[in-house]
């Protein structure tokens, strides 16, 4: 039962670490943005895991409200709903910067850019 109850958190940790690995270790800027996307999704998963209530259903009331009906917690959902769209806008900004770097340096690898900066 512990396995079922905590599995979501473990996957959250795995995604967080995998995303952070891409951001820290990979030298390619687009790859880093993808890693940042995975990192974001890990946080989304953590929040959405919190909203689930055993025996509950999505927080949208159908027709006549049934007394005693349990609903999932809507607050984490609101936070994540907005965060997803903000996330894609920020990712697009990062990609735009990567495009500009490629145009100026001819590469989006960090090692190449360091070398070119050093040479000039």
């Amino acid at each position: 039962m512990t396995l079922l109850g905590l599995y979501n958190y473990w996957i959250f940790i795995l995604l967080l670490v995998v995303g952070l690995y891409a951001v820290l270790v990979k030298g390619n800027y687009v790859k880093r943005m993808i890693g940042l996307g995975i990192f974001q999704s890990a946080v989304f998963l953590l929040y959405i895991t919190m909203d689930k209530v055993e025996g509950g259903t999505g927080p949208i009331m159908q027709g006549v409200p049934v007394p005693g009906q349990i609903y999932a917690n809507p607050i984490p959902q609101v936070l994540i709903l907005t965060a997803i769209v903000v996330g894609i806008a920020v990712t697009a900004l990062g990609l735009a910067l990567a495009i500009r770097i490629r145009e100026e340096y001819g590469s989006i690898e960090e090692s190449d850019i360091r070398r070119l900066d050093h040479e000039s």
Partner: protein
């Protein structure tokens, strides 16, 4: 029976993942992604009935419409790849490490 259908879809998803991991060409990965899209639509539809919330079918509708776009974007990228590569090699850029646009794996 709903559960059985849901499990069948899930197994097919696992199989698509295996195909995506194996490759070997990029096209196989596009195929895996395409299959995943359809499977997700069916999966959401079945789970909506498992949860007895058929009003959530809107989601499956959204997926069914959106799926197409991802695959088309990928294919467009592919079709222009040759033109880009030809242009890059014709006008070789003197900077080292600039030619990241390589052949397919």
């Amino acid at each position: 029976m709903l559960i059985a259908a849901g499990l069948a879809i899930l197994v097919a998803m696992v199989m698509a993942t295996i195909r995506g991991l194996k490759g070997p060409t990029i096209y196989d990965r596009i195929l895996a992604m395409n299959m995943f899209g359809t499977k997700t639509v069916l999966f959401v539809a079945v789970v909506a009935y498992l949860y007895e919330r058929p009003d959530f079918l809107d989601l499956a509708l959204a997926y069914a419409l959106i799926n197409f776009i991802g695959v088309l974007a990928v294919l467009q990228f592919f079709q222009n790849r040759e033109a880009r590569q030809a242009a890059r090699t014709a006008q070789a850029v003197p900077l080292s490490g600039g030619e990241q646009d390589g052949a397919s794996s």
